[in-house]
Structures are given as structure tokens and as C-alpha cells.
């Protein structure tokens, strides 16, 4: 057994403390280290991986890591083909999940939970992310000088900024009478054969509910999914359920053993050895009573905020997600930042109803990199901004074609090019509301019909104007004379 002093980051004072060793914590720590920002990383777990050590339960992940792609593995362009790997400057620490999958059965481009966990462990090792494992954050207070003190199982950590990267991982149940008698998704029996010949009700119609249905369909006698909101699949990329989990929905629509009902559940009551669920239709009014042997609440998760509400951290989504500024700081409690899945609390502009990709690794890995830069600047580090060589229009056309951050975080992250040639990525919400030198910001955006196209925002004399560019079928804007002309005229 190691002593407290043998592990990294003993209790004490650090400029920044990062809590969590899932993808959000690992990416934040790596990015802070690259910028020379001293920090501690604490985790109550005994190894890296975060939620992927437990979930998803029955199925693979939803995000892909292509083992073969048009872009070479380990390049920035390859990041679009490998949504699960974390970012690194050293080629050896990139594409960790795809490399694990190369040694797998290569049945699908989406990894198993075990492959994802192994990829996270490989990244922590290759990127040299040190973590104080087995150190549990217990409570928080703010001192008179504004600094934060995190009390942990190992002692106190004092810091100017704390980054909570704990995912959205605390099981959350809706307030339905009787729901206390049924298990949450997180606590279901993982032995599928236990569901053989049983009638199962799943409360919820989002990914975790459909994941359960998809996993249990080969075993259960009947599965009924119930929630008030209908599943909207009109635009695949905006759907509340990812395509991989749509099998049970198809089953419902064509006719078979699975039903997806739009109804608000009024109560769950015990009935014989099972349950009776009373619900009231939403898209089609009327009372419904459904009986089942097993009821599972796939009603979602919340960020584990512990006592942060006492420090003034406000939440949205019925207390589930912290409300954040564009740079992922609590909107109401300065110095308290979030990384990972909880960065969905900074909603961005939601232009045309399209939200961020911050609830998944492929989106929040970019947020973490920008957060590290923002923290470094806030702490007074001198951070260099890249300067482009060559023409500004050529640079923007190239960014619009290949930049994985703005392609992943559509209308959320923007590549900003100033007139002096300095270039950096920032949250779009920050760019359009901040004053600064004349500059152009480039984004990739999508509308509610699923059309994907570039947009330029020109900031001049304090005002910002938007310029929507036409989509290109091959998405290669470098070769398009039309786009070259338009970009040149805008800048």
C-alpha cells in the first residue's frame, strides 16, 4: 500500500485543481500541462476511464473510431474519424481508442465499453497524465480571499480555480409516485438472461432507454418504452435517439414485441409479483394502464455537484446540469469550472435549434483544450497565439474543409482569424459578444433540415455581421472558386 506522500499531488495549494479521471479530466490536465499551468488531478477511482468503466450497460458506444480512414491515423484531420480518442500534440498519444480497436474483432466502427476504457488508460499512460487516484472530493468552501478549498479523503486542496470533470453520472429519477420501487438504468441487473420471458417497461425514450430495449429485445417477452415526448427522427443528426439504437423504434413502428408510447406516467404501483403503470397520453390523449414484471427508470443522470449549490452554482434541466458561461465557468459562482460532459451547461447560440456536441467525448475534448487556454490566460500565463503564413482566404477555406474542432462543435466553436494573421479557436458565443480587434470567425453550421454549410462572422468596429456560405457537396471548400470569391469579398 502506497503512503499518502508517495502518490502525486499531496494536499496543499495549487493554482488549479482538476477533479475526475474520465476523458474530461484527462484532457483538461493534459492541456494544462502543455501550457505549463501547475495543477493537481484528483480522482476517487483507482484508474482512469470515468463513466466508461461502468456504462453503457448492454451495448457499444455510439461514437465511432474508424480504424481505416481517408486521413492518416494520428493527424488532426483524423480526429473527425476517431471521435473517442483524446487530443495530444505527441503523435504517440493520439488515436489511442482506434489503436485498441485495431486489435479487436473489427465488427463495428464503434468501440465496446472495454475498448473505450482501455483507450483511456492508454492515453493517460502515453500522454503522461498523472492522477492522484483513490482521493475522493468530499466538500467545498470559499475563503474570504476568493480562493476555493476542496476537502478530500486525503486532506485539503486550496486553489484559485477548480475544474470539476465528473461527468453527468449521478442517476436521476423523475418525481413519479412509486418510482422509488423500481431500479434506475444504472442499477439494472446486467445478466440479460434474467429478463427471459418477462414483460419489461422502460421509462424514457432517449438513448439509455433504447440501449436497454436493444439489449433486452432478444430476451424479454415484451418491452414498452414510455415517456411524454415523442421520438423525433426527422433529421437523423438532430434526433433524440442515435441511429444505432433505433432498432426497437423500428420494431414499434412495423409491429412486434416492442412499443414506444408518448405518455406522462402518473404513478407506478406494485401489482402481484410485478407492477402496474398508470399513464396519460400526450400526443394522443387518453388513460393508459400497462402491466409488467420489471420496470426500469431510464430517466437520465445529473452532474454530481455535491455541495456546490451552497457556493452559488446554479443549475438548469431540473437541477441536473450546471449553468455555465461560454468558457465553462459557473454562470453564478466564479472560479468553479466544468470539463467533460457537464460542459453541455454552456448551451452556446443553438443556432437553428442545433445544440453543441459537448455531451460526448468528441465535442468536449475540444472544450477542455480551450478551457485550459482560458485558465492559463486568467492565471496570467503568457500564451502565444498562432499566426498564419500565407493568404487569409486560403487559410479560412482550409479550416472550413478540415478543422475537426469546428466541424465537430457546429455553430459552437469558431476559428477566429484577426487582421494581423493571429488565429485561434474560441466559443462562438464568446466571439459574437466580445469586443476586440477586427476579425473574421469561421464556423460550420447545420440547419433544421440537416443541411451543413459554412458561416463567417465579421467583427468590424464593434459590430458583428453573419455571412452564410452555400454548402458544397464534397465539403471541400479549398477547391471551390465560388467559395474563394465569397470569402475574399467578406474579409
Amino acid at each position: 500500500m502506497e503512503g499518502i506522500a508517495d502518490r502525486p499531488f499531496p494536499p496543499g495549494e495549487y493554482p488549479v485543481v482538476v477533479v475526475g479521471s474520465g476523458p474530461g479530466g484527462l484532457q483538461t490536465s493534459y492541456s494544462l500541462s502543455r501550457l505549463g499551468v501547475e495543477h493537481a488531478v484528483l480522482s476517487q477511482d483507482d484508474r482512469p476511464g470515468g463513466m466508461f468503466r461502468r456504462w453503457p450497460i448492454f451495448e457499444r458506444l455510439l461514437s465511432w473510431s474508424e480504424t481505416e480512414a481517408v486521413a492518416a491515423r494520428g493527424t488532426a484531420e483524423y480526429e473527425l474519424h476517431d471521435q473517442n480518442s483524446l487530443l495530444a500534440d505527441e503523435p504517440g498519444a493520439r488515436a489511442c481508442v482506434a489503436e485498441v480497436m485495431l486489435g479487436g474483432d473489427r465488427t463495428y466502427i464503434v468501440p465496446t465499453r472495454a475498448e473505450m476504457e482501455a483507450g483511456m488508460a492508454a492515453y493517460a499512460e502515453r500522454a503522461g497524465v498523472a492522477v492522484r487516484y483513490g482521493c475522493s472530493w468530499e466538500s467545498t468552501r470559499r475563503e474570504d480571499d476568493g480562493s476555493l478549498v476542496l476537502t478530500t479523503s486525503d486532506g485539503e486542496y486550496r486553489c484559485r480555480a477548480a475544474v470539476f470533470a465528473l461527468g453527468v453520472t449521478e442517476p436521476w429519477k423523475s418525481a413519479i409516485p412509486g418510482v422509488e420501487d423500481v431500479p434506475h438504468y444504472a442499477d439494472v441487473d446486467r445478466a440479460k438472461e434474467r429478463y427471459a420471458k418477462l414483460d419489461v417497461i422502460v421509462i424514457g425514450k432517449r438513448n439509455s432507454a433504447f440501449e436497454l430495449a436493444d439489449g433486452l429485445e432478444p430476451w424479454a417477452r415484451r418491452i414498452v418504452l414510455i415517456s411524454p415526448r415523442p421520438v423525433d427522427t426527422s433529421v437523423v443528426s438532430l434526433s433524440t435517439v442515435r441511429v444505432r439504437y433505433m432498432q426497437p423504434l423500428e420494431h414499434h413502428q412495423i409491429g412486434g414485441g416492442t412499443l414506444a408510447l408518448d405518455a406522462a406516467i402518473e404513478r407506478i404501483e406494485r401489482y402481484g409479483d410485478g407492477f402496474r403503470v398508470h399513464a396519460s397520453g400526450t400526443t394522443r390523449p387518453g388513460e393508459l394502464v400497462v402491466e409488467a414484471d420489471v420496470v426500469i427508470a431510464a430517466t437520465g443522470f445529473r452532474a454530481p455537484l455535491r455541495d456546490l449549490a451552497d457556493l452559488g452554482v446554479a443549475t438548469v434541466g431540473q437541477g441536473r446540469i450546471p449553468a455555465l458561461t461560454p468558457f465553462w465557468e459557473s454562470a453564478t459562482a466564479p472560479g468553479i469550472y466544468f470539463a467533460g460532459n457537464a460542459t453541455q451547461g454552456a448551451a452556446g447560440l443553438r443556432r437553428h435549434g442545433v445544440g453543441s456536441s459537448s455531451a460526448a467525448v468528441h465535442g468536449f475534448r475540444y472544450n477542455a483544450r480551450l478551457l485550459a487556454r482560458h485558465l492559463a490566460q486568467s492565471l496570467g500565463h503568457d500564451i502565444l497565439t498562432a499566426r498564419i503564413e500565407g493568404g487569409r482566404a486560403e487559410h479560412l477555406l482550409s479550416v472550413l474543409t478540415t478543422a475537426p474542432d469546428i466541424w465537430t462543435q457546429k455553430a459552437y466553436l469558431a476559428h477566429v482569424l484577426a487582421e494581423d494573421g493571429s488565429a485561434e479557436t474560441v466559443p462562438l458565443a464568446y466571439f459574437v459578444d466580445s469586443v476586440g480587434p477586427d476579425a473574421v470567425a469561421a464556423t460550420i453550421e447545420m440547419n433544421a433540415s440537416g443541411q451543413v454549410y459554412p458561416v463567417l462572422y465579421r467583427r468590424r468596429g464593434g459590430g458583428v455581421t453573419e455571412h452564410v456560405l452555400p454548402p458544397h457537396p464534397l465539403r471541400d471548400y479549398r477547391a471551390s472558386e465560388e467559395h474563394r470569391r465569397e470569402v475574399a469579398s467578406i474579409i
Partner: protein, 138 residues
């Protein structure tokens, strides 16, 4: 479903006439968003925002640096640009911490068609705004 959020919608005049399951469907389908004081929410000239219903706090409509109007709990903004598909003609800024229910622009029509009482309540509010403007001009 969280009872308190449904209760807070039920108390707003805009949602008068909706059943509890309908209110619950709304809280499931649309996100709540919170803006810190001073944050812009609608930006003059930028398209693609949405309809915002104030659940808590105060928002100010700002045109060319002057305050045009203040909006409080139960009031809404962004409906005109959402329905017309145009960019807003003024900024809307949070003058306190502001909590809103957000119906994104492409969903506004569907939202009103699915909830006729809300469409009617909104029409009443617009009629009131128009009549106040006309009186003021007259």
C-alpha cells in the same frame, strides 16, 4: 418528472389552459437555459435564435444602446424573428440572472400548433402589445 418545473410553467399565463401531461411534455421537449447578468440572448442581426419564455429574472430589450423595454417572469421574446425567419431587430440582454424556457426557431411553429392554448395566449399578449403601441402613438 420534476414537479416544481411543471408547477412553474402552470403558473404562467402563457401556458393557461394546458393539461398537466401537456405541460410535462413541454418540459421534456424543450430545454431550460440560464443566463448570467449582462449576457446577450438575442443578438441584433444574427438569425436562428428562438422563442424565449422568462421563468425567472428580468430581460431588457436594447436598441442602439438605449433600453426599449423590460420583460419579466411569464413574458416572452424572440417570437417575431422566429416566426418570420428574420434576424432580430434589437438585442435582448439579461439584466439579472435570467432563467428561460427555450423553444428553438425551427420548433416554434410546431410548438404553437401542438399547443393551441399557448398560441391563443400569445396572440392575446401580442394584441395587448399592439394596442399599447397604438395608444402611445395616437
Amino acid at each position: 418528472m420534476n414537479g416544481t418545473e411543471i408547477e412553474s410553467l402552470a403558473r404562467l399565463a402563457l401556458f393557461a389552459g394546458l393539461s398537466r401531461p401537456q405541460l410535462e411534455a413541454i418540459t421534456h421537449a424543450y430545454d431550460e437555459e440560464m443566463f448570467p447578468e449582462g449576457q446577450r440572448i438575442l443578438r441584433k442581426g444574427l438569425t436562428g435564435a428562438g422563442l424565449y419564455v422568462i421563468l425567472d429574472g428580468v430581460a431588457t430589450i436594447v436598441l442602439n444602446d438605449s433600453e426599449i423595454a423590460r420583460l419579466g417572469r411569464g413574458e416572452f421574446f424572440g417570437e417575431v424573428s422566429s416566426l418570420l425567419g428574420d434576424a432580430p431587430t434589437a438585442d435582448v440582454v439579461a439584466s439579472t440572472a435570467l432563467r428561460c424556457l427555450v423553444i428553438p426557431e425551427p420548433k416554434v411553429e410546431e410548438f404553437l400548433l401542438a399547443n393551441p392554448p399557448v398560441a391563443l395566449n400569445m396572440l392575446r399578449a401580442e394584441a395587448l402589445r399592439l394596442s399599447e403601441t397604438l395608444q402611445w402613438k395616437g
